[in-house]
Symmetry: C2
């Protein structure tokens, strides 16, 4: 079942890597500091919220004001269903929160980190485009 002719020097059993360690001390030191699986999952989930254009535009819109599903749909020119699916996604990850008033559900940003992450990235791309 080995995928290649190398006997992997990393100590793993599955041996998917098709090479050997080149700098052993750096590799050993780094392995101890690597992210654990559950933290990794939480981090990628958080970034995924911002990595889709529909979701990022929703987050962008909510920077200014809470807003209902209809108004977001109009602003993004998409169906309520598509927006509602993405809002559910964002709510599950604690990126947005919802408040219901009669028939209408108002969404707003849930956490200050959302604003922070958004601001750092905006600075990044603005600096990039100034070079």
């Amino acid at each position: 079942m080995a995928k290649n002719k190398y006997s992997c020097s990393c100590g793993c059993s599955s041996q998917l890597c098709d090479c050997e360690i080149i700098h052993k001390s750096v590799v050993d030191k780094t392995r101890k500091k690597m992210l654990d699986v559950s933290t990794l999952k939480m981090m990628t989930d958080f970034y995924k919220s911002f990595a889709d254009s529909t979701r990022l535009r929703i987050i962008d819109i909510l920077q200014n004001h809470e807003m209902c599903v209809c108004d977001i749909s109009v602003l993004l020119n998409m169906t309520k269903s598509a927006i509602s699916h993405q809002l559910k996604y964002l709510r599950q990850l604690n990126i947005v929160k919802a408040r219901k008033d009669g028939k209408i559900v108002y969404y707003s940003l849930a956490d200050k980190h959302v604003n922070e992450i958004y601001a750092v990235c905006l600075n990044h791309v603005l600096e990039e485009s100034n070079e």
Copy 2:
């Protein structure tokens, strides 16, 4: 070609949204502040770098030390090809930079914003899991 019975009040021609504006003044005000297409694209591209577990683990590894493709492959137990494809992706987005020494190519993080975004997210998920 209309997708629904509503005449969209947002002024767009394609009328994909299946509803009308509920809070006109907030919608009008928000529309003026919305992200332009090119900034949106740059931002989602940047976040996408962090939103894939392989790429985030590469970024995590490079927090500590520059590293060659072989050593990253060993640490992540993946083929050099898979790692190389993702490194190319990250290099094109100016997330990592490369330095060649003989046969070996060393990769490291390219921009302080990469460290910043990473740190804010890590704080976020650590706080979440403490609640």
